[in-house]
Amino acid sequence: MAPTLTTEQRSAVVEAAVRRPEKPEGFKSETARKLAGRVDEENPRVLLEELRQRRPVENPAAQHLIERNIAGEKDSGGSIKRSPEQQRRFEEANRWNTLNQALVEKGIDSLSPDQRKNAIDQVRDVLKRLPEAERLWWNLSVDQINDEVTRLLKDPDFIARIREARSEATGESRIISIDVVAAQAKLEATKTKKGQAERSLAHNNGERDNVTARLEQFEDRTATGGSKGTKLQELEKLEREAPDQTARLEELERLSEEAQARLRDLENTQLAFAVKGKALPEMASQLGDKRAEVDKYRREISTIRRDLSIREALQREKAELQETRGQLEQQRIDLEKAVNETIRDHSLAQAELDGVSLERSQAEEEFVAGLRNVLRDGTFAYLEDKITNAEQSLNKMLEEEIAQTQDTAEKAFISGIRGRYVGKPHKEKRGGLLGVRTKEVWVPGLPKGEVIDGDYQKYVESGNSLHVVKGLLDAGRDPTTGERLLTDEQVTNLLTDKEFIEKMGPRAIEELLRARLKTGDITENEATIIANYDGGAAAIEAAIKKDPRGSEFIEEIQAKTGEEDLQKAVKRLSGKSILAILLMILSSALASSISTVDIKRAIQTA
């Protein structure tokens, strides 16, 4: 336990504990900056809740997948640095993963208010695509609709579908294997090569500049108004003098040899006299002169030889510089080619990295979208199951009815219902370009929607059930052979058979309305029109009486209208009430999954 403090110590602690933080914009930590900007303005509990929501999910596999799939670069300390876009994706992936996991493991009541809202919104948006849901929720408030969605979110069957969708979104098939690191390494390698090639070229340029500058001393720029280089001037002068100098050199060498020979004679003569003890004073003078002559020749020879040597050196220097420049020029061509190749390689590697990075970003976005769409996909799967089951069940009932019916005309009629109005939902790919970014959209209606719509529109316009019955009789097929059960003539005869039409007309309308509710909309106005057709009212009456809650319906309708005759009573109801009744008695089994509207409310509040 920490020690208690004196008043002074407390003051110091107070100052430290409650001091206003520095200006938020100066903070190093992004989180600290955001918190500091809000801590005095908002309820601290909200901020604490937000911090708590950052808790990583307790699913190491899913968390590992997120860490792996949305991977940034590692810094020198080994910690991962994500780009702002990656950080956004990372946080979004974690947010949805946390929501999905909490939902499937702990239920909707464990979610925070924000998570709960997100979950309800997603599921409601999917459900609203169902024509039935749209109509079933027609008189519900937003809160009531949300309650219906919440009820569904508590359904174990529904949660099982969400769990499956979540497994799919976090399964091994979702591992992103697009390798940006290899492309980055390749780019770095080409960058290094490019740098080396550029440095070699720069070195070559320096050497060439140096040689060119030296060669300028040998250049003749008089043709362009300039002057001759200093070394050229010197070389030309030496070359001009060279023939004379060469001739003079030969002459001097001869004279020098002669002078030296004479000098040797004089020296020998002097030596001979000296041995004999004689002295010739003039001899010493001759020797001095001859020696001076020999020295003079030697100096002149030396001067000429030096000039000739300088001339050769200049000629050699010029030749060497020209050769070096040629070599450097060739090197330059090779190096520029190499630089261009490395630039091209670098550009290609950059383009490859850009492509891979884009591909990786798209894959990461799709991965996040997968997590974000778990609820949507799970809801689709759940609805698809429900609708498929309902259609299969309806199909089976009709098959049994066909098998039990002995009368060929009735068999054809029921077979027609099965062939014309029963189907299953499907998904369609929509949008995108050349298959890119296409979205798979769940189509809640049946593939036979156009046929049903045609029958329905004709009936609403005419109130005559004959064309509906005709369509069903025409569609009647033998279940084993697939052949038509009735000929055109038989169908025509049946359509004039009053008894047959009175019996089958209401059933045809009932089945048409049932099919219509699954595939499209029935407006309140259309509901009124249908109820006011005798055939329509009879169909509604028949459907009500077949419903397990039939007596309850009849009681409520009679109470609402004060009319005993059910068909007449139905005609007195508002369009809203008639539509509500149609929805409740003719909607698919799916309707009970998404709505708990009760009979009394449907009829009395309309």
């Binding site: 336990m1 920490a2 020690p3 208690t4 403090l5 008043t7 110590q9 407390r10 602690v13 107070v14 430290a16 504990a17 409650v18 001091r19 933080p21 520095e22 903070f27 190093k28 930590s29 989180t31 600290a32 918190l35 500091a36 801590v39 005095d40 309820n43 601290p44 509990r45 901020l47 604490l48 809740e49 937000e50 911090l51 708590r52 929501q53 950052r54 808790r55 990583p56």
Partner: protein, 112 residues
């Protein structure tokens, strides 16, 4: 002494400010924040009186020492409030002539 909802809110705000300072001074990592927030939310709600608040802050400091200052501050405020209360009681006793009792009561504070 009971703790009001307003006081709890103030404590939560002070906790957040401690977190901000700790983040800036590298005394806590971002990864710890959800655990801290969870601990605070879970443990502060049942707190009803100042003793429990001190206990909560003490537990919080045990887990994350950078909250010690806040715990000491709260503890000091509780003691100060208690001292004020005893001071008033001593005065009341003295006024009513119960000097010995007043001295004994005062000693309970001063002899600590």
């Amino acid at each position: 002494m009971d703790v009001s909802a307003q006081h709890k809110t103030e404590i939560e705000r002070k906790i957040l400010k401690e977190i901000i300072n700790a983040l800036e001074n590298n005394k806590v990592t971002e990864a710890e924040l959800p655990n801290i927030a969870d601990f605070v939310i879970t443990h502060i709600d049942p707190v009803q009186n100042q003793e429990q608040m001190i206990k909560f802050l003490d537990d919080l400091s045990q887990k994350w020492p950078f909250f010690e200052g806040l715990e000491q501050l709260e503890r000091g405020e509780v003691i100060e409030a208690k001292e004020d209360q005893i001071e008033q009681e001593v005065l009341n006793l003295a006024k009513s002539g119960k000097v010995t009792e007043a001295i004994n009561l005062a000693k309970t504070v001063t002899e600590k």
